[in-house]
Subunit: 224 residues, 2 copies
DNA sequence: TATTTTTCTTACAACAACTGTAAGTGGCAT
DNA sequence: ATGCCACTTACAGTTGTTGTAAGAAAAATA
């Protein structure tokens, strides 16, 4: 069953949204601790998130922006204000759709289904900055062109993207790629990072995989 | 430059839309012959199509539906009526977004960019019925699961999907897959079709690739 | 039913791509 | 200046993909 996170401070509206989703067969749940909303969303990894932009504390727009930088699930923005600039702002932040309160259940569900169908059809992807990686084929899409990575290189990049923008220790990489913390040969990682870098350079992504001496590897990108 | 097709019967609105797109750096053009709109769209293969649903003759909804069955470009529905049922209908037909007239240029461009970004990010795909194929990796997505095809099998399926629901002659397949009409060994096609079928069966797609004795192969699907 | 044509299936060997090993070079830090 | 860490290139084993070959099954024709 598809899980949907509802981030909304108004109790009544939140429960109504959750109820609407549950009746339609989704596994909806509310997030009430807005300080930890981002963290919770990244841990839960729902199939979709509905996000009120008028949250107390951190702006919902900020939340949307920082989630979209590295999340793989779609986000529906919900707002009371119905101005064009709000809508443009939301879409500019990478939201997948924009709905105004009050919102008819049928409209909510229609938009939800459309977004989910689009995501399902393209298959799941891992996003980090402007990079988009298919975790099954290791096809990396960036700025209109793409690159097909070999399995090992793809796995390394996948971990780096999932953890972006964190530094990933070499032990973690060994665990994720070869299934063991205890790396027999330190060199094999370097060989594959080297190959990965050479391939990324073709896309104009030279210098993106950086080594932090004694710590591990990071993805480093300026652009969104 | 990205090409945008505008299908709208009102001259003024059409020119205004085209002008808005051109000013934003798109290569927009109008389609006026609505009888041939579908055919023209399939030939032109624009990067996006804006479609008025209140066209003379064939309903815009019908047009959207039949295009979406086998097109790979996004469609924006434009309508004068602003009822919920119109919107639900449009989204149900597979439209990528829904806008009401009159539409502010900024909103139009924002929605356009969002849809194009989504398509660019997922990379181009070939659609036929409920099947979605990545023509670079030959990853086939269907109903929540997926399958990675080998190159030759993928090429065959790609041609069948591109031509869906037409029957494809064996000569065409040889031309597209091996680059020659004159097939040295008739058998190699059968071998690969056989392998393709076996793989498709895993996804529950047994019987989808059909042979028409003496003519060629077709995709046959009931569902959307 | 017998015969011919077309299509389908399985096994096998050549080939290409990917992976890890090995060995040596380069760069950073104390 | 020395030692450690990171990088690069070449090579060989392994894996998966491709086309060939040969025979079985199915459909049309007589």
């Amino acid at each position: 069953m598809i899980r949907i996170a509802v981030v909304e401070d108004d109790v009544y509206l939140r429960e109504e949204l959750i109820h609407t989703f549950r009746k339609a067969g989704y596994d909806a749940f509310g997030i009430t601790c807005f300080q930890r909303a981002e963290q919770e969303l990244m841990e839960e990894k729902p199939g979709l998130a509905v996000l009120d932009v008028n949250l107390p504390g951190k702006s919902g727009y900020e939340l949307c922006k920082s989630i979209k930088k590295r999340c793989a699930f779609p986000i529906l923005i919900l707002t009371a204000r119905d101005t064009l600039s709000d809508e443009l702002m939301a879409l500019g932040l990478g939201a997948d759709d924009f709905l105004t309160k009050p919102c008819h259940p049928d409209r909510l569900l229609a938009r939800t289904e459309r977004v989910l169908a689009a995501y399902a059809r393209m298959g799941r992807r891992i996003l980090a900055g402007a990079l988009s990686l298919d975790p099954d084929t290791y096809k990396l899409v960036y700025g209109g062109s793409f690159l097909l990575l070999a399995e090992t290189e793809g796995k390394i990049l996948k971990v780096l993207m999932e953890q972006y923008p964190r530094i990933v220790e070499k032990g973690e990489l060994f665990a994720a790629v070869w299934g063991t913390e205890k790396f027999v040969d330190e060199n094999i990682l370097q060989v594959n990072v080297s190959r990965l870098r050479k391939n990324l350079a073709v896309l104009g992504l030279a210098g993106v995989v950086r080594n932090i001496r004694g710590q591990g590897y990071v993805l480093e990108m300026e652009e969104l």
